[in-house]
Amino acid sequence: MSRDIFEKTMSSPQTTSDQVPKHRAIVAGHGEFAAGLVSAVQQITGRGDQLIPVAVHTLGVADIEALLRQQMIDADVRVIFTDLQAGSCTMASRRILRGMEDAVLIAGANLPTLLDFVFAEGVSAPQAARHAAERGRAAIAVHGAGA
């Protein structure tokens, strides 16, 4: 890990009203997946500003990779959440990770994944992302007579 962008702890709020929010991860996927999930995180926790939603509607693979890479550099983040293992954002992110060894990609992210991530402030973002992935996986439940 070349840097740790998470010096804050659970007892110290991430931002105050006069601070620019510090981004911790990119969320990317099909359609409005990213904007929808980030909106939901914001509504539930008020911490949606940790996440940068990225949509890639009209872009080819090379441009998706360039966009995500630039977003990571500009925002100084090393975590990407995507929606689908087979998705173009996942493919592009895996190419980015080849040259960015301190970064982590979580493919198949869901809302419980992101909720866990935005509250895990006492650890590095990649560590938080790995923990969040497990929480997201475990959060899927089946209810009803057909279960």
């Binding site: 509607h57 009209t58 080819g60 087979a86 493919m91």
Partner: protein, 161 residues
């Protein structure tokens, strides 16, 4: 079964192919024809990880794919053949009895003009599509099975934008 879809898509293997087409058509294999991917094991592994374990992926250069086409067309399973550009599909079509080609996604980049929500074309690419059509190949644009196929005429006229 056989190859049930010949698709031009510059994202190659991605969600629309694996899930959008793959599930309703019961696709069991994908033939990915791309000279760059065929030459790089890492790229192949990247695409392999994007498909479910029960789906096979075969990688070929264009020249190898032309030789292997008959084998895939006589396969008992349903498959999709993918190319990332029109020129590669044109080479496969020549003399191989392909009667229909799906334009699934050619995305924005310098020199291309938008013709459909998911199709951007250079003038040369437009000529290539017209040439395919002139050879008797049915060329339509359709990103997912539930969408209405767009004729080549409507595609090139930008009527569906």
């Amino acid at each position: 079964m056989t190859l049930v879809l010949y698709r031009i898509d510059d994202r190659l293997i991605h969600g629309q192919v694996v899930v959008g087409w793959g599930q309703p058509l019961d696709i069991e294999f994908i033939v990915l024809v791309d000279d760059t991917v065929a030459a790089e094991e890492w790229e192949q592994e990247l695409y392999r990880m994007g498909v479910p374990p029960e789906m096979d992926v075969y990688f070929h250069s264009t020249n190898d794919a032309i030789k292997a086409l008959a084998k895939y067309r006589s396969d008992s399973r349903a498959g999709i053949l993918l190319t990332g550009d029109i020129a590669t599909m044109r080479r496969l079509v020549d003399g191989n009895g392909i009667t229909a080609v799906n334009v699934g996604g050619l995305h924005s980049r310098a020199g291309r003009v938008q013709r459909l929500r998911y199709v951007f074309l250079t003038p040369e690419e437009e000529r290539e599509l017209r040439a395919l059509s002139a050879r008797g190949v049915a060329v339509t644009a359709q990103d997912v099975p539930g969408a209405r196929p767009v004729s080549l005429e409507d595609l090139l006229a930008g009527n569906e934008l």
